[in-house]
């Protein structure tokens, strides 16, 4: 045996509730994050990711208390992202019990933040989330919840963030997000083969076969999904049982 492929449910949090959209829009309520987290742990989730998608200055305090509540309840690693703009933000979520932070827009605005966090908390603590969309035959990086083009190419940016100290990349294809048509295999393959840190594939999971495809056809270390798990159409345990039959190592 060896290291296992990770199945990671993602909870997009807005005003303390879990929400889910399609192609980053049309948000629907999907439940209480703490209850969902506990359900996922029972189903065999390997990690949890919490993305605060409406993080604003005045909501930071609410977030810290939610992170504390989640940290007290769960016994697997968890990452918090959304509106992490400074070392002080990192310190607040780590002290509340998060294991890793995920940067997105703030890393593009201030790439040095990656190095600062890695220097203080270690590379393993810094996840850089890359939202990418296929435009004019290129995988481009978008920020601001997918609304703002950056002019960066996903592969170049991925290499750059690893150089700066990122310990993991969370790669979301905006074209695939919420469509249930499968992960974006080509860009996931390119990036996971080009960088020396774990890459988590995200966006598009709609069936257990999609997880098989991403693990067989790319070097992704994990697959992240939200919608299919929230509404109970498929359980994490179903995915894992299936992957075992395909000789993919899972916990």
């Amino acid at each position: 045996m060896a290291i296992k492929k990770r199945i990671i449910p993602c909870l997009d949090i807005k005003d303390g509730r879990t929400v889910k959209g399609v192609n980053f829009c049309d948000l629907r309520d999907a439940g209480d994050p703490v209850e969902l987290a506990k359900k996922y742990i029972e189903e065999g989730a390997d990690e949890l990711v919490f993305l605060d998608i409406a993080a604003t200055e005045e909501k930071r305090k609410t977030r810290a208390s939610l992170v504390r509540k989640i940290a007290a309840e769960i016994n697997i690693p968890f990452t918090v992202g959304g509106g992490i703009n400074s070392l002080a933000d990192v310190s607040a979520v780590i002290q509340s019990g998060a294991d890793k932070v995920s940067l997105n827009s703030s890393a593009v605005r201030n790439p040095y933040l990656i190095s600062e966090i890695a220097g203080q908390y270690g590379n393993q603590c810094v996840v850089v989330a890359i939202d990418t969309k296929y435009v004019n035959n290129e995988w481009c990086v978008f920020v601001g919840g997918g609304k703002i083009p950056t002019g960066l190419m996903a592969l170049d940016w991925a290499k750059k963030v690893v150089e700066l100290g990122a310990g993991e990349i969370l790669l979301t294809s905006m074209n695939n997000d919420g469509t249930r048509s499968g992960f974006a295999l080509d860009i996931t393959r390119q990036i996971s083969e080009a960088v020396g840190v774990p890459v988590i594939a995200s966006g598009g999971a709609g069936s257990k076969e999609h997880f098989r495809d991403v693990f067989q056809q790319t070097k992704a270390s994990g697959g992240l999904a939200a919608g299919i798990f929230h509404y109970g159409e498929i359980s994490i345990q179903d995915v894992k049982n299936y992957l075992k039959t395909q000789n993919i190592l899972v916990r």
Binding site: A72, I76, G122, Q124, C125, V197, P198, S221
Partner: protein
């Protein structure tokens, strides 16, 4: 039962306390020598950088306190590495409890090892009711070489010490506090030690 969790400049000590709370065990996070010496058990957690962590321990005199403890002590992740003789991370002499070296993984696979992996031949008091089928959560770029104190190995890039034990000193490279119910079993085994 009084459990002291060593407070120092490395990582997420809160998650260890949360894990103990879930097991119904109170603990105190402290760098006070008297509190540490009087605790029935001491947990030495840590995620961070070995060089700066050792420097901090020396400045606070905690290095000498740690090696002189007689009650069960449990080092986790960086805690385990700091209990070894020497770490390549920061090229620093460590506490020297375990006579082994801490080296960086060669970059032939994804580094850090981040994720769930199983143990090979887990043995001793820490691993009662634990088998090779159980997975634990690892996050590390450096590993302790296998030595006479090794009580479980793990295979990632190469075989290394997933757990070490000598006298009253216990240590794991993985995070029991983040390893679901299998991790809780290891924590319970530590909490039940009679010494």
């Amino acid at each position: 039962m009084s459990i002291a969790i060593l407070k120092y400049n490395a990582g997420n000590v809160i998650s260890v306390q949360n894990a103990l709370n879930r097991l119904g065990v109170d603990s105190v996070i402290t760098d006070n020598e008297t509190e540490i010496r009087n605790a029935e058990k001491v947990i030495f957690p840590g995620v961070g950088e070995a060089g700066s962590a050792m420097k901090y321990l020396r400045e606070k005199g905690l290095d000498k306190v740690l090696i002189s403890l007689k009650q069960p002590v449990f080092g986790i992740c960086l805690g385990q590495q700091l209990m070894c003789a020497f770490s390549e991370e920061g090229a620093v002499n460590c506490l020297g409890i375990f006579k082994t070296l801490v080296k960086k993984f060669p970059p032939v696979d994804t580094v850090p090892q981040m994720g769930w992996n199983n143990l090979l031949n887990p043995r001793g008091e820490l691993f009662l009711n634990v088998t090779e089928r159980d997975d634990f959560y690892f996050v590390h770029s450096y590993y302790a070489e296998i030595c006479e104190n090794t009580v479980a190995t793990c295979d990632y890039i190469l075989p290394f010490s997933a757990a070490l034990q000598k006298d009253n000193f216990y240590a794991t490279q993985f995070h029991p506090e983040k390893s679901g119910s299998t991790g809780e079993q290891v924590l319970l085994n530590f909490l039940k030690l009679q010494k």
